[in-house]
Amino acid sequence: MDSPTTYFHWGFILISVPNLLVIAGMIVLFAIALVVPFPHGGEGKNGRR
C-alpha cells in the first residue's frame, strides 16, 4: 500500500484512483439510499396522532 498510486487525468482534473473511488462510492451510496425502501415500524397503521 506504500507504493505510488495511479492517477486519473481528464483535462485539468488530476485525481488519484483511491480518491476517485471514495467520491464515486459516495455518489453510489447516496443513490442507493434514495432508492432502497426503508423499513417502517407501524407501516399501514392509519391512525392519526
Binding site: 462510492g25 459516495m26 447516496f30 426503508f38 417502517h40 407501524g42
Partner: protein, 212 residues
C-alpha cells in the same frame, strides 16, 4: 413565599426556573422520542447518526493514540493499528458528513426555523476540516513535513501564520488533541439538541409553497 408550596414549585428558585425552561424547550419526550413522523422513512436520514458514530470511533481511537504519545504508532504494530483505526474512521466521518450535507441540502432542511441548525452544521464541517488539518500536521512523518512547509504560505498570506504556526508541532498537536475536539463536540451536541428541539422538518410542500 408560600410555605405550603413544594420546593420544586418555588418560582424564586433559579434551579426550579432552569428545570422549567428545559422542560418547556426540550422535554425528555422530545430529546429521546420513541416515535418519529412517518415521513422519516428514507435511508438518507441515517447519514447523520452514522456520522456521529464515526466521530465516536475517531475520538476513541484518538484517546488511545494520545495516551500512548505521538511517537508510539511509528514504533509499534499495535500503535499502527490504532492509527489506522483513527485514519479510516476519519475517512468515514467525512464521507458520511458530506452525504448528510447532500441529503439535508436536497431536503432543504433549513426550512421552518431551522436555518441556525443548518449554519451550525456548516461550521461543524469547517472546524472538522481544521481538526483534520492539525491531525495531518501531527503525524510526525513525511506527509506532515510537506503539508507544513506548503500550508504555511497560505496561513502566512492570510496573516494568521503569525499566530497559527503549522511548523510548530507542539501548537498543532495541542490544538488537535484538545482544543479542536472540544469545539467539535460542543457544536455537535448543540446541533443535535437543535434538531431534537424542533423536530424533523416536514417534506417540501408539494403544492410548491416555499415556506421558510
Amino acid at each position: 413565599m408560600d410555605a405550603a408550596e413544594p420546593i420544586s414549585e418555588q418560582p424564586t428558585s433559579w434551579t426550579v426556573r432552569t428545570r422549567r425552561a428545559i422542560d418547556r424547550h426540550l422535554p425528555m419526550d422530545h430529546l429521546l422520542p420513541v416515535r418519529q413522523p412517518y415521513y422519516v422513512g428514507s435511508w438518507v436520514y441515517v447519514f447523520g447518526v452514522i456520522t456521529i458514530a464515526a466521530l465516536v470511533w475517531v475520538v476513541a481511537s484518538g484517546v488511545v493514540l494520545a495516551f500512548m504519545g505521538p511517537q508510539w504508532w511509528h514504533d509499534s504494530s499495535v500503535g499502527r493499528f490504532f492509527n489506522s483505526l483513527h485514519f479510516w474512521s476519519v475517512q468515514l466521518f467525512f464521507i458520511f458528513m458530506v452525504l448528510h450535507l447532500w441529503g439535508q441540502y436536497f431536503m432543504a432542511g433549513w426550512r421552518h426555523g431551522r436555518a441556525a441548525t443548518w449554519a451550525i452544521g456548516v461550521v461543524i464541517f469547517g472546524i472538522s476540516i481544521l481538526t483534520a488539518f492539525t491531525g495531518y500536521l501531527s503525524q510526525q512523518n513525511f506527509d506532515s513535513q510537506f503539508i507544513a512547509v506548503n500550508a504555511k504560505d497560505a496561513m502566512n498570506g492570510a496573516g494568521i501564520g503569525a499566530f497559527f504556526n503549522v511548523l510548530n508541532f507542539g501548537q498543532m498537536y495541542g490544538l488537535h488533541i484538545m482544543l479542536l475536539p472540544i469545539g467539535v463536540t460542543i457544536l455537535v451536541v448543540l446541533h443535535i439538541v437543535m434538531v431534537r428541539a424542533r423536530g424533523v422538518v416536514k417534506p417540501i410542500d408539494p403544492e410548491g409553497g416555499a415556506r421558510s
